[in-house]
Amino acid sequence: MCKSPLVVITGIIVLLTLNSCKKYLGEKSNAKFAVIESLNELQLLLNGYGNWNNNSYPYGSELMTDDYYVSTADFNNPGILQMQRDSYIFQDNLQTNAIWDASYRQISQANLILAELGLLEYGKEQEELANNIKGSSLFYRGYFHYAIAQLFCEPYNASTAKQDLGIPIRLTPDDEEKSVRLSVQDTYDRILQDLKDASYLLPIDQLYKTRPAKAAVHGVLAKIYLSMSVYDSAWKYANMCLGYNDSLLNFNIKAEVDTGASAPFRRFNKEVIFHMKSQANTLMSNARAKVDSTLYSSYEVNDLRRVAYFRQNADKTYQFKGDYDGSGTNTGYCYSGIVTDEMYLIRAECYVRKGNISAGLQDLNKLLQSRWRTGTYTSFAAANQQEALEKILMERRKELHRRGARWTDIRRFRNDPLYAITVTRNVNNQTYVLTPSHKRHVFLIPGNVIALSGIQQNP
């Protein structure tokens, strides 16, 4: 009499626990989470302003330049990280994880997108989107590897690049992969390869300036070749970049540059080819970082950059306000996007170095014309190549304030007896000097990286 219900109840239990479990347990535990199933998810990752364009590019480079200084009191402020102080006064044991970790995080993210993209199947109609995703990821991977190379390995020197120790290059998202330091030559070869691959895949136009287009890749390539002192290629890519966009802001037109405002430049203005902002550091916030006085006085009265870039402090020193993010409150970041003014300067320098002084000065004069008060600028003429070069390098420093270019130049001219740069600091009644032969042109690799991977530390 009792067998039948027994069977049924047992059946219920069995059904409950086993049947349709897969479907039941397939429900995701958080509705905001999703697995990557289509190109759409990858594009969403690339869409994130905070993922790529804000707060990830390293600032480390600018900390050590001669474009600014801080007071002893600010230097001692408790809000300042030890690493920032150490960088400011070029300490031997200077170490930080912030730069390394953040850049490799971006690289890993790019690698993950590339790896997931390789697993996805999509139709022909989506090929354009896929190319954009692949091109963007390669662009970021190349650009961030370059950012690391600017800090953690010797500047590119064609004669020693095959022997000099480079950086670990990551091409997969595998977190078990062992880090190995390539040579500087291999490091740069790989970076350039990624970017060149990207330049074929990316479109000419993007909907947003936060997405890299062909011009952005060419711009980065121009910057990299310049840092390598390979001027032919630098010219080539700066020229190609300007082929897409050669606009310049007219500092005389308030709608373009509101020189008197606390934030004179608009974000995504017409000079901007690609938008990116670095990490911030509290030592260089605009309340603390004061513009080098010699640098400030080198801007002539009719040079509108004098008012568009700088604001006077209560103590008569000057602070920077002219960043291309347009926020007016620089909390200590560098603008690390691609902007036409830099391309003009790169092309000008390369022209001059190739011996085409007039073409170089034409670029320079066109740029400066837009910076000066209307009708006050007289075109610059140079007697010889060196004069032209010196002028261009000076204008590089003046135009590209807080854009990361100064640090590249300090490294680039390290072994150049003519243009080598020495940085001097005075703080707590002591003087510190970053001589051209100083070993902290190359940062120490973070201790935990060395400990966990066993790669060789820098001297």
Partner: protein, 1177 residues
């Protein structure tokens, strides 16, 4: 009953999970319809026995009717064998048949068959010389002075007898003086008493039967209830009396310091963590016991349950006990059982109320510098131009009043004398006085609870209502809670039992305080100790909050709203109300398929709804601040990008959970010697939460609000760019579990018990490959009742039993996906682009397995003669494998740590529980319970190798940190080598040498360089609970001890002190090194300027700041007076009680000058409660 074989479900009937609720209803309905019409014949018996022992027949009767029996072994030895064949016959008739052939007779008392000798009439004849008979009135109580109903009072050698009523009272008329009264009861020891000549009123205190004591202890695993003596596993039980040793609205805190094997880690008062036999996981989010309420895991907030509804609490400690709960029981299980009605009981009303007052917090217990000294620090910093660059900051951060005075002096606006005198006035203020006057109050809790319970032959019921009101120690912070609960059980037919319970809670919380002393700040600046909240007339005063006074004085030249912050106005205007409703309903249907087999389907539904509306009044600072920041003034045009008005932040969280369980229960005795108790079943569980929140701007009450533009970047009034915060948030989560389980115990001759359990769990661990979804867990155990062996003849130790178990539990964490996942972000999270985006979830874990915990447990249970001492002693070994832990990664991989099954945790421990009745006389009782727990565990494997080159390992023991061979809550320090006699700098140790290179000590010091102290939580702990009762007045107190652990005390940190302009500077500042020679008296380094973080960190984490935390303390005392009630007919119990909590009476401690439990804050204030408990008949 034959009809029932026709089952209503079609063949191949397919269970869709949530159709199960429907199934329950159909099941119930159909079974009722098909039930046999005479199913109510409760006392009918079917027997078929040949030459069976009387006891066996009694057991059959008990199983079928629920009637228990009482027979002495004397009588039993005279019993004849029984042969009987009856079917559905009335119990009385059956008993008549059985006893016709026995040398004794019986009577039925309540639901007990009492076997007694046949009365010999000749005894009565021998009584000569009779005195006048008297009427004897009396009252029977147990050793706890609780009246006992149902006690049979008879006259020895006579037929006359009576039974006590609910108040324990009885009357026997015409009793001959000299006669002997015999008191008998199923669960109490019999007692004989000779009646004197004029003894008319007597009170008899009966002792609970020893065997009954242990039988009464039933352990509830949440799946089945078993007598404690038939289980092999390890349990701690908190009975109702111990549960009520403390008062308060919270259930779990009543366990603190009272339950064997359970430790409350209350170092962080806002996040108290419960550990059962240590911690065998390394992730805080998993390091919690599973909480079960009335057989189902409880996913709501336990504060929604009324503690007055709790009957008892069982803690499942080892694998045999807890593995039935499977993958979530790795850290133990707490089973809460609520009160139920009793069968055959007239309605009983019980009322309990209490009132608790707790003092204001003792802020002056904090070790901080007096105001004057703090001001000196400010003067010093000012002289160093410290913080001057903030005058240039566009955010206009405020300065302290002392700084402002000094600025004025510097500018020549006031003279040095004026400045000194203004500052001098500030020195007399201590903001702690202001807090105690305006922000704090005495906290007051009121609790009222009433319940009605009872039952008839076929049903049992329990209804309760509770009301709690709490006023917390901060003005504006209070809550109230109303709870209603019912529990109903119906015996619909002999086969079918239905039970139903429902719990409803509604609470309202007002959080209108600005924060306590420790949390207070001035927006983007710390506080200062000479702040005043009100002037002499009580008018609220302003302090500079977020912005400098000179800025808010003039900003906008009258075109902005007032921009001042007045703490007391904020307190007055705050309006933040949270309303919580929770409903919990359970339905269970139990069907007896056969005598030995029950089928049970039960389900539970829970829903919690939390609504919070935080109205920032338009006159409050935060509303004015938002409006002002987004105001643009162009000449005479004033544009308010945020409309004038307040803010309304609305939060709505809904939690829902469903549980459905189907279970078969098998209980059978085979041929007397073999007994099997088994269960098998399956369950499905889903817990969903969803939260929604949004903000309205320009809110002016009456549901009026204004529009704002979220995706435009404005230039704020400070000149900085900013977006208006949208504060919209949507979130949905859903955890699902499916499990199958079985548990069986086999007892041979009641002496040898073997048990085994098995369980598999699966959950919707997001993306985990299906292989790892099903987690099999098992346990096995045996127990041996040594004292029941024939060879065992110890009178001193009448009860002795041995147990041993082994098995596995698990730990599960649903928050780690194992494939690349992204998290969707709204366009509003992706400004300035304002397009949808996603974040990569960097917590991807490949091949993650569930943690498993293996426990072996060995136990001895014993009882000495007369219960002088009874208890248990247990030894256990635990090891968890595949423990999920953070593993450092080479950051070149893209992240510097990842989550892996990277560790094992091993440990062992001893639990001793002793109960003793030290003194027991008519008027005076002294009972003691003692717990001793030793729990030692360590990380036995961790994949990370310490290379020696990385950062020094330092820990305060507040975070779980895996270090191989060490306790997960390890305290580790830098080695302190004294102070430099010239400069007062602290000296450290690196590479075998004294050193002041603090950066090297911190960043490059090998692991072996540090001092490893030991665990931050005790390895030995326990308590001694004493209850002394003298004529109804009882006093109970609990002494607890904690040994074998360490803590790091706070000390001066110059960096932090200077960053806060001296506010809250630790008073060790006064002990600092000032001049050479001081190093002989102090370890506190000299003040260092400019700020040197590394130096402060080194000293603050050095071994001189660590002390042993050993402690012996009394926290709780209860006084109780039970009124003598023999004259009040309608009351069965009336008691007044008073509890003292947080007494913090430290009897002994190893640390000097500091309370090891309250080293980072002030001690909690003492509380006093007064309560009244009345039980009506």
């Amino acid at each position: 009953m034959k009809n029932i074989t026709k089952w209503p479900f079609p063949q191949g009937w397919h269970v869709r999970t949530f159709a199960v609720i429907k199934l329950l209803l159909i099941f119930l309905l159909v079974t009722c319809l098909h039930a046999y019409p005479n199913g109510y014949a409760q006392n009918s018996v079917t027997l078929s026995e040949k030459n069976a022992s009387l006891i066996k027949v009694f057991k059959q009767i008990k199983r079928q009717t629920g009637f228990s029996y009482m027979v002495t072994s004397d009588l039993l030895s005279q019993a004849n064998k029984v042969t009987i064949e009856v079917k559905n016959m009335n119990l009385n008739d059956v008993l008549g048949m059985i006893f016709s052939s026995q040398p004794f007779t019986y009577s039925i008392v309540g639901r007990t068959i009492v076997v007694k000798e046949k009365v010999r009439r000749e005894v009565q004849k021998t009584v000569e010389l009779q005195l006048p008979p008297v009427d004897v009135k009396g009252r029977v109580v147990n050793e706890k002075d609780v009246p006992v109903a149902g006690v049979t009072v008879s006259i020895k050698g006579a037929t006359q007898s009576t039974v006590t009523n609910a108040k324990g009272e009885f009357i026997l008329n015409s009793v001959q003086p000299g006669a002997v009264l015999v008191f008998t009861h199923v669960s109490l020891e019999s007692y004989e008493m000779k009646i004197g000549e004029d003894q008319k009123e007597i009170t008899v205190s009966l002792r609970t039967k020893v065997s009954q004591l242990s039988d009464v202890t039933v352990v509830n695993t949440g799946y089945q209830e078993l007598p404690k003596e038939r289980v092999t596993g390890s349990f701690s039980k908190m009975d109702n009396e111990t549960f009520n040793f403390k008062v308060g609205a919270d259930i779990l805190s009543r366990l603190d310091g009272l339950v064997n094997g359970v430790y409350f880690d209350s170092r962080n008062k806002d996040n108290i963590k419960i550990q059962i036999r240590g911690l065998y996981t390394l992730d805080e989010s998993m390091a919690k016991p599973l909480i079960v309420v009335d057989n189902f895991p409880y996913s709501g907030d336990l504060s929604n349950l009324n503690p007055n509804d709790v009957q008892d609490i069982t803690i499942l400690k080892d694998a045999a006990a807890a593995s039935i709960w499977g993958a979530r029981a790795g850290n133990g299980v707490i089973v809460i059982t609520t009160k139920k009605g009793q069968p055959d009981r007239s309605p009983k009303v019980s009322f309990n109320s209490n009132f608790t007052v707790t003092g204001k917090p003792d802020l002056f217990d904090l070790k901080v510098l007096p105001t004057g000294e703090q001001i000196e620090i400010e003067r010093f910093l000012f002289s160093k131009n410290f913080g001057f660059s903030d005058t240039l900051s566009p955010f206009k951060p405020p300065f302290t009043p002392v700084y402002e005075i000094l600025f004025k002096q510097r500018k020549g606006l006031i003279t040095a004398e004026e400045a000194d005198s203004q500052i001098g006035q500030l020195k007399n203020i201590d903001v702690r006085d202001e807090f105690l006057r305006h922000i704090y109050r005495k906290s007051m809790n009121q609790q009222y609870a009433v319940n009605v319970s009872g039952g008839g032959k076929f049903n049992r019921y329990y209804f309760s209502f509770g009301y709690d009101k709490r006023m917390y120690d901060q003005v504006g912070f209070d809550d109230e809670r109303i709870t209603a609960r019912t529990n109903q059980q119906f015996q619909l037919t002999q086969q079918l039992e239905v039970n139903f319970s429902m719990n409803y809670t509604r609470s309202v919380v007002n959080r209108n305080s600005n924060g306590n002393y420790l949390a207070y700040n001035r927006g983007n600046r710390g506080f200062y100790s000479y702040a005043k909240f009100a002037d002499e007339n009580g008018n609220p005063l302003a302090i500079d909050y977020n912005y400098r006074g000179s800025f808010t004085d003039t900003a906008g030249s009258g075109k902005l709203l007032d921009w001042k912050y007045r703490p007391l106005d904020e307190l007055r205007l705050a309006d933040d109300v949270t309303k919580i409703q929770e409903a919990l309903a359970t339905l269970g249907v139990k069907y007896r398929i056969a005598r030995f087999l029950n089928a049970e389907v039960s389900g539970q539904f829970q829903k919690t709804d939390m609504d919070r509306a935080d109205h920032t009044h338009k006159e409050s600072f935060f509303a004015r601040d938002w409006v002002n920041l987004y105001t643009q003034i162009n000449g005479n045009t004033v544009i308010n990008n945020i409309p004038k008005g307040g803010l309304l932040d609305v939060y709505n969280n809904v939690g829902e959970s469903y549980n459905v369980r189907g279970q078969l229960t098998f209980n059978h005795v085979f041929k007397g010697d073999h007994q099997v108790n088994a269960i098998a079943g399956g369950e499905v569980r889903e817990a969903k939460t969803s939260s929604r929140s949004y903000r309205l701007y320009g809110y002016t009450g009456n549901l009026n609000y204004g529009f704002v533009n979220y995706n435009t970047q404005y230039t704020t009034f400070l000149g900085t760019p900013g977006f208006i915060a949208a504060n919209i948030n949507l979130d949905d989560k859903n955890d699902r579990f499916v499990s199958a389980y079985a548990n069986a115990a086999y007892a041979f001759r009641q002496r040898y018990i073997f048990s085994a359990s098995f369980r598999r769990d699966a959950s919707n661990l997001f993306g985990v490959s299906t292989n790892n979804r099903w987690k099999p867990l098992w346990s096995a155990g045996l127990s041996w009742r040594l004292s029941d062996e024939k060879f065992y003849k110890s009178e001193f130790l009448p009860f002795l039993s041995l147990r041993a178990t082994v098995g596995f539990n698990g730990n599960v964490n649903n928050s780690y996906p194992s494939v690349s996942t992204i998290i969707y972000r709204n366009p509003s999270d992706n400004l300035p682009l304002n397009i949808p985006s996603a974040l990569l979830d960097f917590t991807i874990k490949r091949n993650l397995r569930w943690e498993s915990v293996r426990t072996s447990n060995f136990g001895i249970d014993f009882r000495l003669k007369n219960e002088i001492l009874s208890g248990s002693l247990e030894y256990y070994i635990k090891q968890s494998k595949d423990v999920i832990a953070l593993q450092p990664l080479d950051p070149t991989a893209g992240r510097n740590q990842t989550v892996r099954n990277a560790a094992n945790v091993s440990g062992r421990g001893i639990d001793i529980n002793l109960q003793s009745v030290i003194i027991k006389s008519k008027d005076f009782h002294w009972n003691t319970a003692f717990n001793f727990n030793y729990s030692k565990y360590w990380v036995s494997k961790y994949l990370v190798v310490n290379t020696g080159a990385e950062k020094a390992f330092i820990s305060n023991g507040t975070q779980l940190t895996p270090v191989e061979g060490q306790h997960p809550y390890l305290v580790a320090s830098y080695k302190f080598m004294g102070l430099d006699p010239v400069t007062g700098d602290p000296l450290g140790f690196i590479n075998g040498k004294q050193s002041k290179r603090y950066d090297s000590i911190i960043n490059f010091s090998p692991f072996t360089n540090q001092v490893l102290h030991g665990p931050a939580i005790p390895t030995v702990f326990g308590n001694l609970l004493n209850e002394v009762n003298f004529r109804g007045i009882s006093i109970s107190f609990n002494a607890r001890y904690e040994l074998g652990h360490y803590f790091r005390k706070k000390t001066i940190n110059y960096s932090v002190s200077y960053a806060n302009y001296g506010y809250n500077t630790h008073s060790d500042y006064l002990k600092r090194w000032r001049s050479p020679g001081d190093e002989q008296f102090t370890n506190v380094p000299s003040s260092a300027y400019p700020i040197n973080y590394d130096r402060d960190n080194f000293y603050g984490s050095s071994d001189v700041t660590v002390e042993k935390a050993d402690l012996l303390v009394i926290d709780d005392v209860q006084l109780r007076y039970a009124l003598p009630l023999s004259s009040v007919s309608f009351l069965s119990q009336c008691a007044v009680y008073s509890n003292i909590g947080n007494l913090n009476l430290i009897l002994w401690k190893s640390a000097k000058d500091i309370d090891p439990r309250n080293y980072n804050s002030y001690r909690p204030s003492r509380s006093i409660s007064l309560g009244l408990l009345i039980n009506f008949n």
